[in-house]
Amino acid sequence: MARLDSLDVLSRKILQGKMQGERRSKKRGQSVEFADHRPYVAGDDLRFVDWSVYGRLDQLFLKLFLAEQDLTVHLLTDVSMSMSVGDPSKAQFVKRLSAALGYVSLVNNNRVTISLFADGVRVRLANMRGRAYLPQMAEMLLTADCGGFSDFEKACRDVESRRIGSGITVVLSDFLFKQGYEAALRRLIGARYDLYVIQVLSPQEIEPKLVGDLKLLDIEDADVAEITVSSALLKYYRRNLAAYCAELNEFCTRRGAVYVRANSTDSVESLVLNYLRRVRLLA
């Protein structure tokens, strides 16, 4: 809680006065912000006729306003067993990050949905809006435990079927899915939603400090890989990891999604305050 609070303070300092929630929609609608004029056609609401233009031009024009929609922020946070590994733990990191993003979204009057998924969505807190939901969100994130294997596609199917309107979707995971992430991500990428992919890896995954003859146990499905650690093996591991991340990045970029890679040793604050602003997740 203390960390979230400090994050809160830090976030508020930076984000004060940035009108995040009431953002312009591409749709014209009822709002105070003027967008355009168009000729009056029969049946239009007379209340939007621009009478001053009619006085000058003697023609009826309708004033078009930008519809001010609230933004739906979908946080899709991975809490499968694989996230519990690592020092510092990746789960902690993604929960903090989710909390930070959720906080920012709630404070700015966005509609926030947080889904914790493993083999499908395990916990969901949907359609929160306003500061009042902060404690509820915090409690959910704090009490959530890691468990189960990852079924990213099932979770994505679930999210896709439930989301309405438009907004942004942020996926926080390590993306080490045996069955692949492509099909699942494709579901999330749609016209109405911006997709942000944040891949969190632990330092042990980035630079393994393993020595000797080992029997590696997969924490999720108890899969076994027998390795004898050697310089060559580690070289290939690093090369594979880099290729895997690059592939994910390319997949996202090609589909207009934004890919962010984070190390669980990174501080959540700097990530939120600097990096995510740079990739324009936050403004």
Partner: protein
């Protein structure tokens, strides 16, 4: 190529190789580690297996290297020997000189050690019987150590270990070196093949391999065939200072006075200044510096002679004692740097007077410092068994006008009668004789003035050629010294009572001198000074008692006497002082001295002149004919193990 221990190697291989393979094929016990996902690892392993060349081979390379290293070690264990010799098996007699001169330290640690070392190299290079070989081509050898006597250390065998043990068992001695016995023994053994010679017949002559410094006394008496004997010369230097002779004896006149005569010899080419120390019972009495001249080089006909100097000491010492003379500066040969002599206490005589009654003689004898005087009638003396003398011996037997029937071994002083059987005749009697000449320097007549001696009646003496005449009448010897059958006879041809001698002071002086002289003849101190290897013999040991002999190195040997009460200790192989403790008797000392110029002359001989031919020393030491291969194999195994370790490490490096 031969194998010394092929079965050991095979046995070890039978155990070790399957064990290594088993170990290698046992599944590796891996540590478990939990990771978030094996996804990337599996891919990495796949990549590694796909991309790394010779992956499987490399895995097996370690096994291959291990197997090679193990094989090298196992082959080394089997003891392969590269044999440079060819031809059928030979028989050798290894003769090792262990005489005094072989103790010289001019080659470190000593000549004997060097000889043993070379002999071992020789034994090592013998071809051993091989389990793999079809024909038995093994060399057989026997080992003989010799000084004056030969000692068979090991009979003919092809077992090198046994030969090595035999060579190791040779101990240094201080004896003189004589080869003839060793050669005789060697030939005798060579004609009867050893117990493990198997079906082979004794074809061929056994070759003798002699390790010596060439100082051997009796070379001229030995005949050797050509090629029968190979001589390996041991030793380098000739420099040595030796005490070649030493004698300590009491003065005849004054028993307290001890005269010590020492002869020193210098075998080196430089004159040497040395301190000679004299001690009695461990107390230093005198130190004298002497300069010993260098050796005198000879010419073609004559060998060089050592420089010599004689030193004499004079001191007073009563009672028993051990005189030690020591040359103080250590040199190559230590055993001739000191000599010992055992002093007996001044003798107290027991005298048997055989007379029918002669108060003059009896009172004169009683005036002398004697232990006891037993008068005895001639008839009683003749009736005594000779064995009675051996039990309670009299030092001197005085015969007054009596020629006894039998003469036990002793010292005799005879007046007026000639004992039979000593080659002295008495052709007749003379009357009214005076002494015309006498040897006033002789100990018996010292201080005695015989000018006024008048003899009314005397026997004429006809003496053997070796007799010593001390005083003469005009026509016949008056007093004479005859030695026969180990006895000493001091003959006075006339009856004392038929002369005016009892009234002369010279008579008492004569009695005193004669007794002292005869006592000195008998005491002599001879049996207390022995040559090396001469046994210590102690008679009359009480039954059941044991004799303890303390050797120069302070170790003690118990000697049990034989049923006759005689204890023999033959182990006087080293020079020095041997103390003998007989129960209920004072301690006795025996001095064993080298005192041998030939042994002190340590210059190694380049050639040995035998009766038949001259054998030259081998130009160089014993060469290895067999090259043991195990060190190279062990080295190879080590290198292979290192390579294996390096490869493993390279593979495992992160």
């Amino acid at each position: 190529m031969q194998w010394l221990t092929p079965f050991v190697g095979l046995l070890a291989a039978a155990v070790a190789v399957p064990l290594l393979l088993l170990l290698y094929f046992l599944k590796l016990k891996r540590r478990e580690a939990v990771v978030s996902s094996t996804l990337l690892w599996k891919r990495a392993v796949q990549d590694l297996q796909v991309n790394a060349p010779f992956q499987r081979l490399r895995r097996n390379l370690l096994l291959l290297l291990q197997l090679l290293a193990l094989t090298a070690m196992l082959v080394a264990l089997a003891g392969p020997v590269l044999s440079l010799d060819r031809g059928p098996g030979q028989r050798y007699v290894v003769l090792i000189d262990r005489s005094a001169s072989m103790n010289a330290t001019d080659v470190t640690p000593s000549r004997l050690a060097e000889a043993k070392k070379q002999a071992k190299v020789f034994v090592e290079s013998l071809r051993s019987s091989s389990a793999m070989a079809l024909a038995d081509r093994a060399d057989h050898a026997m080992v003989i150590a010799f000084d004056r006597h030969a000692r068979v250390m090991c009979n003919f065998t092809s077992d090198k270990r046994q030969l090595m043990v035999a060579i190791d068992a040779i101990e240094a001695g201080d004896g003189t070196s004589q080869l003839s016995e060793a050669v005789t023994v060697a030939r005798a053994f060579a004609q009867s093949p050893g117990p493990d010679s198997g079906p082979r017949s004794d074809e061929g002559l056994a070759r003798m391999v002699l390790f010596s410094d060439g100082r051997i006394d009796d070379l001229g008496a030995i005949a050797v065939a050509s090629d029968e004997l190979v001589y390996h010369r041991i030793g380098e230097s000739a420099d040595n200072i030796a005490i070649t002779a030493m004698k300590a004896r009491r003065s005849y006149e004054q028993p307290q006075q001890v005269e010590v005569f020492v002869s020193l010899a210098n075998y080196g080419t430089q004159s040497a200044a040395r301190d000679v120390q004299l001690g009695i019972d461990g107390d230093v009495r005198a130190v004298r510096s002497v300069t010993i001249p260098p050796r005198q080089e000879g010419d073609e006909t004559q060998e060089w002679t050592p420089g010599k100097v004689a030193v004499s000491f004079s001191l007073t010492h009563e009672g028993q004692g051990v005189v030690e003379v020591r040359q103080l500066e250590p040199d190559a040969l230590a055993c001739d740097d000191a000599a010992w002599s055992v002093l007996d206490p001044p003798p107290k005589l027991s005298v048997l007077l055989v007379t029918e009654g002669n108060p003059v003689l009896e009172s004169s004898l009683r005036a002398c410092p004697i232990a006891r005087l037993d008068p005895c009638a001639p008839a009683a003396f003749d009736a005594m068994e000779p064995s009675a003398f051996s039990l309670s011996p009299y030092d001197v037997i005085v015969l007054d006008r009596h020629a006894p029937l039998h003469l036990p071994r002793s010292c005799y002083l005879a007046f007026g009668a000639v004992p039979a059987g000593i080659d002295v005749n008495s052709p007749g009697e003379l009357e009214n004789q005076v002494i015309v000449d006498w040897r006033s320097r002789h100990p018996v007549l010292q201080y005695a003035n015989l000018t006024n001696l008048f003899v009314a009646q005397t026997r004429a003496l006809q003496l053997p050629r070796d007799a010593e005449v001390l005083a003469e009448f005009g026509e016949s010897p008056a007093i004479a010294l005859v030695r026969r059958h180990g006895s000493t006879f001091l003959l006075v041809g006339f009856d004392v009572l038929a002369s005016n001698w009892p009234f002369e002071p010279s008579f008492v002086l004569f009695c005193y001198n004669a007794l002292s002289y005869l006592a000195a003849q008998q005491g002599g101190g001879g049996p207390h000074e022995l040559a090396v290897a001469e046994p210590i013999v102690i008679d009359d040991v009480a039954a059941g008692g044991e004799v303890a002999v303390t050797l120069p190195d302070a170790s003690t040997v118990q000697v049990a006497p034989d049923p006759g009460g005689t204890a023999r200790f033959p182990g006087t192989y080293r020079v020095g002082l041997y103390a003998v403790d007989v129960p209920e008797e004072p301690r006795r000392f025996y001095a064993v001295n080298l005192a041998d110029e030939n042994e002190s002359r340590i210059e190694p001989g380049d050639e040995m002149t035998f009766e038949t031919m001259t054998v030259s020393a081998q130009p160089q030491g014993v060469q290895r004919a067999n090259v043991p291969l195990w060190p190279a194999l062990v080295l190879t195994a080590l290198v292979l193990a290192c390579v294996e370790w390096l490869i493993y490490n390279k593979k495992a490096r992160i």
